[in-house]
Symmetry: C3
Subunit: 266 residues, 3 copies
Amino acid sequence: MKIDLLQQLRNDNPMVLNIANSVTQSDVANGLAALGASPLMTNYDTELKTLTQMTGGVCVNIGTLDDRQNSISNNLMELATEFNKPLVLDPVGIGAVPERLEVVEDLLRIAKPTIIRGNAGEVASLVGAAWSSKGIDSLDKGQTQDVSEMAQACAKKFSCVVVVTGETDTIATADKIAKVYNGTPMFKTHVGTGDMLSSILSAFAAVSEGDFYEAAKVGCLVFSIAGEIVMNDYPEIGPSEFGIKLIDKLYQITVDDVEEWGKYDD
Amino acid sequence: MKIDLLQQLRNDNPMVLNIANSVTQSDVANGLAALGASPLMTNYDTELKTLTQMTGGVCVNIGTLDDRQNSISNNLMELATEFNKPLVLDPVGIGAVPERLEVVEDLLRIAKPTIIRGNAGEVASLVGAAWSSKGIDSLDKGQTQDVSEMAQACAKKFSCVVVVTGETDTIATADKIAKVYNGTPMFKTHVGTGDMLSSILSAFAAVSEGDFYEAAKVGCLVFSIAGEIVMNDYPEIGPSEFGIKLIDKLYQITVDDVEEWGKYDD
Amino acid sequence: MKIDLLQQLRNDNPMVLNIANSVTQSDVANGLAALGASPLMTNYDTELKTLTQMTGGVCVNIGTLDDRQNSISNNLMELATEFNKPLVLDPVGIGAVPERLEVVEDLLRIAKPTIIRGNAGEVASLVGAAWSSKGIDSLDKGQTQDVSEMAQACAKKFSCVVVVTGETDTIATADKIAKVYNGTPMFKTHVGTGDMLSSILSAFAAVSEGDFYEAAKVGCLVFSIAGEIVMNDYPEIGPSEFGIKLIDKLYQITVDDVEEWGKYDD
């Protein structure tokens, strides 16, 4: 795995342009900045073209969608394609909410993302597989579908990299598959860690020279290990202090840390 | 008091659907998740019906209202009534801002909330009582109105449970009254603790099998005690670290803690 | 320097009415409240006049602008002028994004702010000077323009106080100039510290009895020292814990601290 992409990201300080989930945008912006990227959130159609041209990567998150934002997301997906910028799509809540799935299917008709990141329930809904969701959460216990197969089917359908996060992270293209085993259950309790990862994947994609599969793998690995180290160092903390220390670990984590802690099949 | 509702909440993991105050929604979402509920914020009219059907409770907070959100709040109050979901209304700022009081009076013509939670100035304005407010804060020193009487008048007028928070929390129906004496002054300095409590009351209401008075009392008690324990354990911390530790205490607090620390008239 | 304004602020508890950057508004509200002011964020045209009449100061931040908010910002700038309230303008991102510069130039045609606070790239763009920016960040290394000259040119052009923040803070009127040397590089890594300072300057302006130059200087000094003390006391922390401790230091900082730590030319 090209773990040096972490150092590359810090050297390049790529800008990541976000249509953000309003609930978690502070964490997302601070996570990106701590890791070494330069975050920018927009809701302003007039500036989209200028910002797309100057950014390194784009992330469209539908966590707090509305009609106006959906229109801006459409435009940003077109612009990212036009200016050849890596585009991450985070389809928050489509596993449980059909009205959100419709919005995402519209977005996917407009442009192909570089990376789709979701939980198992969200990715299942994109390929018509059976999976239980509850609101924005995926209910992963006792499911019978194979996550790797779903991820690869999704990657094939939309010609992109697909990342399914959960206890294990699955990173797939149509013909490749990787697993990241690092992490901590605390990622599920602190709100917005999935949103943070999606934007971070865009930052890694921006410095990957087109190797988006590698970018997605390294992004998942760095993020998962950051959280695992925090809970290893502070096993007694709760989800809110975890959120603070996770961002600070993104600021401090080194290539050596990732090499030492990494557990993955590649 | 049915303190076991805390354990019930953790077992059931109820979804709480929020029209949120945009300033504090990250704290609200994390507070709900830490306590054991499943938060969802929406601004999207198209998904309201689906989300209302799947949620356990609803919370409408007008802290950062605008015309579009007021319309969505209207719709959500109707839907909560139609699908028989516990509905908490947080009338932020109506004590000082007549234009907000008008919006809330419109909302209250559409549907009856299950619980109204506000500070004394906000609740006073709903019953036409005299009380001083400053922006979103209630000026409680030296007031002559009796809070219990105001709370009961409000509960009678809108046929719901009314919670008046302050140094002491007052929980009232038309013919019952309870007081929670736990808490810490730090609740006033950290922004958004009232918003958190309102959404948390919706989570307790969702698991109360219709006993909303009991839900409101236990919600106030758990939240107040969580803050009091934090300041007891860390008397030197400031308001921001208080906000972090408050959420983490919601994650850790047990029925035994509540029984040990509780100071209330019931 | 009138460092006692810090105590005056705590005594008066001025309200600050904000058109906020949605990404950072929680930090801004908590920073204001910790320092001793009373924050209020609005997006609701209907309540603007009422709120402007009751507030001590106003802060318009264009960090997450859109057409609707631009219109509200216009109205608020007019109202602040009509009711003679100190008005801080934070022109986020105009150094790099021409579409933002246009919005701010429109705002400046409507009303004169009391204080403009930006980074060097933002202030340069207001006076047509050459300066490099990257997204919302100013690239200050190796620039040849003189910041003091730019700040004074801007102050002269818009007949207001201009604050240019960076490693050194520059506070200028058309014929006066001051420098604050306190601070820490961590201000750049934690997202939203500039937004916090802008709103804090409005709080100081509200209690300054019209001496806005003094208010701006003291505001910069108090904020810079708060950050510097945090990193002096906790040199190993990351940007997220810095954000927490910065707010808590605003809660605790005294006039004596400011006198002991202050490094400035006045």
